[in-house]
């Protein structure tokens, strides 16, 4: 993919960062406004496709580190699982840190909705990682066709014929 004109790249420079900020806002306020982990994560993940479209494949590959996104995905998933387990004496996914009506605040750092917004953040991490990886792998498979190289660090599957 070739880089586009200077108009597109400067618009990308200007707006891509706002996309990320907006995405993070949507993730953080998922528990009481429309939106949440998946929607915000999808908005953040458009950043990568912005970069790809505006700056072209060469800059894209110089930029991207697959491991970062894989790590984001891993952290999000495990955190989600742990937040699910927090409710365990009652049941899996029970909202154990939420503050009941008229109850006492456990800690100022905890959001009022309890595990719901924590899970939103976890899902946000997961979706940012996963959708970025989808973009990377789909573009990588195009490159694999052009150059015949393997993708994603795989050695390539042999045909298993003797």
């Amino acid at each position: 993919m070739k880089p586009l004109s200077v108009v597109v790249t400067s618009v990308c420079d200007l707006f891509a960062w706002f996309m990320i900020v907006f995405g993070v806002y949507v993730i953080n306020n998922g528990h009481n406004t429309p939106g949440g982990g998946f929607q915000g994560g999808a908005i953040v993940a458009t950043f990568l496709s912005f970069m790809l479209v505006a700056y072209g494949g060469k800059r894209f590959w110089a930029w991207v580190h697959e491991g970062v996104y894989g790590f984001l995905e891993f952290v999000g998933l495990v955190a989600f699982f742990v937040f699910g387990c927090l409710g365990f004496p009652n049941s899996f996914f029970y909202n154990s840190v939420s503050i009941p009506e008229g109850g006492k605040v456990l800690s100022e750092w905890l959001p009022y909705s309890g595990t719901i917004s924590l899970m939103n953040v976890a899902v946000g991490f997961e979706v940012v990682g996963a959708l970025s990886l989808v973009v990377i792998y789909m573009y990588g498979s195009l490159r694999m066709i052009d150059t015949g190289a393997g993708m994603g660090g795989e050695r390539g599957h042999d045909r298993f014929d003797r």
Partner: protein, 520 residues
Amino acid sequence: MNWHDHLPAFLVMIPLLGAFLTPFVASWGKLVRNVFFVLFMALTLVVGISLCTATFDGRVLVYVMGGESFSLTLPSGMSYPIRILFEIDGFGSLLILCISIAAFAGALFSINYMDRFSGWKRFMSLYFLMTAGALGMSATGDLFNFFVFVEISSIASFGLIAFWRDKPESLEASFKYMLISQVAAMLLLLAIGSLYGKYNALNMGALASMLRAGTLERISLALIVSVLAFKCGAFPMHTWMPDAYAETPSGVTCLLVTVSQASFYGLIRVCYSIFPALTQGGTVGWILIVLGCMSMFFGVLMAVVQHEIKRLMGYHSISQVGYMLLALGVGLLALGNRNDIAAYGLTAMKGGLFHVMNYSFYKGLLFLCAGALYYATGTRDLDKMGGLARNMPWTAGMFVIAAAAISGLPPFNGFVSKWMIYESSFVVHPLLPALAMITSVLTLASFVKVFQAAFLGPAKEKFVAVREVPYGMLAGMAILTVMTLLLTLFPGWFMGNLFENAARALLDHQGYIRAVMGGI
């Protein structure tokens, strides 16, 4: 905190945690990776077996996700459940047992079978996800949640069918399966949505307690039955089945068989527990019987002419699914009439459920044997094989057991379940057992052909160096062989504790409602 109460949650949590941890663990080397894979599958198996034993006395286990207490199905002020809940009765635990054993055997087999390929991280993740989806499908008590688990297991299986992505055949098989599966899943969602629009409930028990006969319900039932019949490979839309089964890595095929069983579970659950008001008239029963007979007969006819070992077994799967549809259809005819149930309905259902378990073990074993042949010889074409019984005595022995069981030869478990199906369907119409027996004879003929072509005959020069497959693969096959032999030797114990229980759980749809809705 009593761990025993939380078993239904662990059933899905353990494979999901395995899938999440895999990318991290898989980079620590081969030994850690293999131990991790087998350990998590073994944990799932332990949970599955303990759940199964917990339902032996006819109890229905209920687990509410996110509830103040795991058993609080109706929160204060609510007249119907709003949370996701798991509901496991005798029938569900039967499927859970089949799936967890097949998944464990497939995992042991895959360790050696997939050793020479890269992409292990993805393979393990998808395998765990597929197990979680299939287990969730047979544990859930919520229609929408059922759809979600269907999609989890199908998306994972799309990835695994196309795992050898440098083979155009597997890509094509995956695309074909995906097309049929997605259309089916979306129509299923449409049916679930229209039920929600009318009754404001998604819980199976709550829906069953409110459901009245009407046009919308008829349309929804027709959509759900046709969609799930397609997903479990019944005749008119069976085309994905041989392709997908043939192109998947063999350890996964063993699991894929049980995933289609889980779709079958959904079909039967909907017919018996949710819509008994509509299915009692006999129409749906006859539809299932006709679908079953057609799948049985045409599946085996197409299997006889195949020359590729895994495609042949794929066509046999269609015909085996036909037996189960026939049996449960006969049971559906008797539903609602106590005399009919005592006369033939209960026998048909017990036979059908026995066949569900038999099928998942011997069919999985056959696919693993085919995989072992492929691993050793590098070909799937029966015409190119020959004389392998000397090189691979263990594989040959286990193949004989599985082939005898699937063809219904008398001492084996396949004979018992098929005999119960013949006996009960004879009461409905004498043509049905005749058709089933012809199918059985053709199955025997085709497996004699396979055995003769692959294992007997003069030794071929090409295969002089072929050795027995590694121990991991043999262990995977041995587990399923032992299960087949146990079912053969102690059919009475399994019948009394598992199948009788499962059939009674299906017939007692008031009990299924009561477990969720309390004393209504």
